[in-house]
């Protein structure tokens, strides 16, 4: 028995170590590229680095443009995540706890928004944002709000889908118990359902944030100078006169940090073995 447990642990740690190595290697290389000057990228590739070419970091980030891009990305991703989480909780709860006419079709339709290759949809959205959604001279083009709204198309269906699954597995007895205790809709939602669904909400928040943070195509098309995100800033490095891998890598490394921070913060809510078990008995 002890031998089996030992072997199982060995297997687990070996697997984790292997996967960790596989995960880290490309990121380590990204870091290496970010501290090498362009000439150093030629010649035999080495995994060891003694010097640090700090210009790759200082040049972009001492320029106002990339600071702005980073800030924009943070604002847009975070705002969109908050919006998506709020709306998704409400929608998932509605789809789970109410009988709505055509709810399966509605549910299915929301998912299809995410299924098509986006290239062809850029044109109508471009027109909508530059011509249709205008207030006087102001357009939705190149605004934070425009992107925050647009990312709902991808993140909302996904969030609703995830959360509906989670909320579905919370027995309705809990809701009814709360109602008997005198709780109204919002109380039930906020005080009972949300805490129970916390791990799922956390995962949803993380994934929505990451998708919004990394999105490129729509951001590139619908922003110009003011609302530009860091991902579109990254694409600028790929040019006819040579990709500046070093600076691009440096910007990419810095772009990882807010994501890491966000994930680290929200991760705490993913805890094991909740109170469902108790209720099921």
């Amino acid at each position: 028995m002890r031998v089996r447990r030992f072997l199982r642990n060995l297997l687990r740690y070996t697997l984790l170590a292997g996967i960790t190595l596989f995960t880290i290697l490309p990121l380590y290389w990204l870091f290496l590229v970010s501290v090498r000057s362009r000439v150093e990228l030629f010649g035999a590739p080495s995994f060891i680095q003694t010097s640090v070419y700090i210009e790759n970091y200082t040049k972009p980030f001492f320029s106002e443009a990339y600071q702005r891009y980073l800030l924009n990305s943070i604002v847009i991703a975070t705002s969109n995540t908050i919006l998506v989480v709020l709306l998704a909780i409400a929608s998932a709860y509605a789809l789970s706890r109410c009988r709505l006419a055509g709810e399966e079709n509605i549910f299915f339709w929301t998912i299809t928004n995410r299924m098509a290759p986006p290239a062809a949809f850029l044109l109508p959205i471009f027109i909508l944002y530059t011509r249709v959604f205008t207030l006087g001279d102001a357009k939705m083009f190149d605004t934070h709000f425009g992107l925050i709204l647009l990312y709902c198309v991808f993140n909302l269906p996904f969030a609703i889908w995830l959360l509906k699954g989670i909320i579905d597995s919370i027995p309705t007895e809990i809701d009814e118990a709360a109602m008997v205790d005198g709780a109204g809709l919002w109380m039930t939602l906020l005080q009972i359902i949300v805490p129970l669904a916390a791990p799922g909400i956390a995962i949803t928040a993380i994934l929505s944030w990451i998708f919004a943070w990394n999105e490129y195509l729509f951001a590139a098309t619908l922003t110009s100078v003011h609302a530009r995100t860091i991902t579109t800033g990254l694409a600028e490095f790929v040019t006819v006169t040579g990709t500046n891998w070093g600076e691009m890598a440096a910007v990419a490394v810095v772009a990882l940090l807010p994501a890491l921070l966000f994930v680290a913060l929200v991760q705490r809510y993913i805890i094991t073995g909740l109170t469902f078990g108790a209720v099921r008995e």
């Binding site: 596989f22 995960t23 706890r97 062809a120 044109l123 597995s169 994934l207 943070w213 094991t272």
Partner: protein, 296 residues
């Protein structure tokens, strides 16, 4: 499926209203527009300068378009391999990360990292790693094993590199969603099963999988949808080459719509791919839920 309804319908609609508003404006309207222009022959730089109505001609052409069909088939193969491997790997990883052990938090954070990297950068990193002549992987493979690894010349190398890249990038997604699902599972049935002497495999098949089936399906479908639409990473890595070995449908449509400005044809293509994706997911849904109903 909804449970026994607790709240009246109008409450439900009220909760759903903002979502529907946003999705109709940003999702349905563009879709209708794309549907509309898919019936036109519209290329911005065509001599006639205006779109010409051609009915279902675009769709008819697509059915015989070898490039389109080839790209679609390639994408299906790509999707099959990446999604299958990611699901299995993610399942195993999530299982390992569920129970508490020393350093679990660190492992979890590390494993999420690839997901946080922008797709363009993922493509860029893997390009830097694998580009012949400059990258470390071809260099050391040649030096230590004498293997000629060249993604620019050898189609199978390019294909499997894109698969590997996708696995690296997206397995954390599967791991995370499964982790969320496993974290919400009640402990009792599992403890009971262990007491009864069930093997690990049996526990997985008869307990874990059926209990988390909704999440598994969700993850499966989302991965399939996203894999079918892959563009940025593969574009950075291979540009669709060598030849057309990694020209997946996302890239193909992109090149038709953007540089070629063939909007009408591109619209029809996008809708066909959408339809194809829906049908594929539907079939899978039936198969998967059917199979596991049998086991139960």
């Amino acid at each position: 499926m909804a449970q026994r309804p607790i709240w009246p319908a109008r409450v439900g609609w009220g909760l759903l209203a903002p979502t529907l508003c946003i999705l109709i404006i940003t999702g349905l309207l563009p879709f209708l527009y794309v549907l509309y222009i898919s019936f036109f022959d519209w290329n911005v730089f065509a001599a006639q300068g205006v779109p010409l109505f051609v009915g279902e001609n675009n769709y008819r052409r697509l059915v015989f378009d070898d490039d389109f069909l080839g790209a679609l088939w390639r994408t299906v193969q790509f999707t099959f391999w990446t999604v299958t491997i990611e699901l299995v790997l993610g399942f195993i990883l999530a299982q390992s990360l569920v129970k508490n052990f020393v350093g679990r938090g660190i492992f979890r954070t590390i494993h999420t990292l690839p997901l946080m990297v922008a797709p363009i950068v993922v493509g860029a990193i893997w390009r830097l790693l694998t580009i012949p002549g400059f990258g470390p992987i071809p260099h050391y493979l040649q030096q230590w094993f004498g293997v000629d690894y060249n993604i620019g010349r050898i189609a199978t190398h390019a294909f499997w590199t894109t698969v590997l890249m996708d696995i690296w990038h997206w397995t954390p997604f599967v791991t995370l969603t499964f982790l969320g699902a496993f974290s919400s599972l009640p402990r009792e049935p599992f403890e009971q099963a262990q007491v009864d002497g069930a093997s690990t495999l049996q526990i997985h098949f008869y307990l874990t999988i059926p209990m988390t089936m909704p999440i598994i399906l969700t993850t499966l479908f989302i991965r399939i949808m996203d894999a079918l639409r892959t563009v940025d990473e593969v574009w950075m890595l291979t540009g669709g080459g060598p030849g057309s070995a990694t020209r997946y449908i996302g890239i193909h449509i992109w090149r038709v719509v953007f540089p070629k400005t063939d909007y009408g044809y591109g619209a029809a293509m996008s809708l066909l791919v959408l339809y194809f994706t829906i049908v594929l997911c539907w079939l899978l849904f039936i198969v998967m839920t059917g199979k596991f109903k049998q086991i139960q």
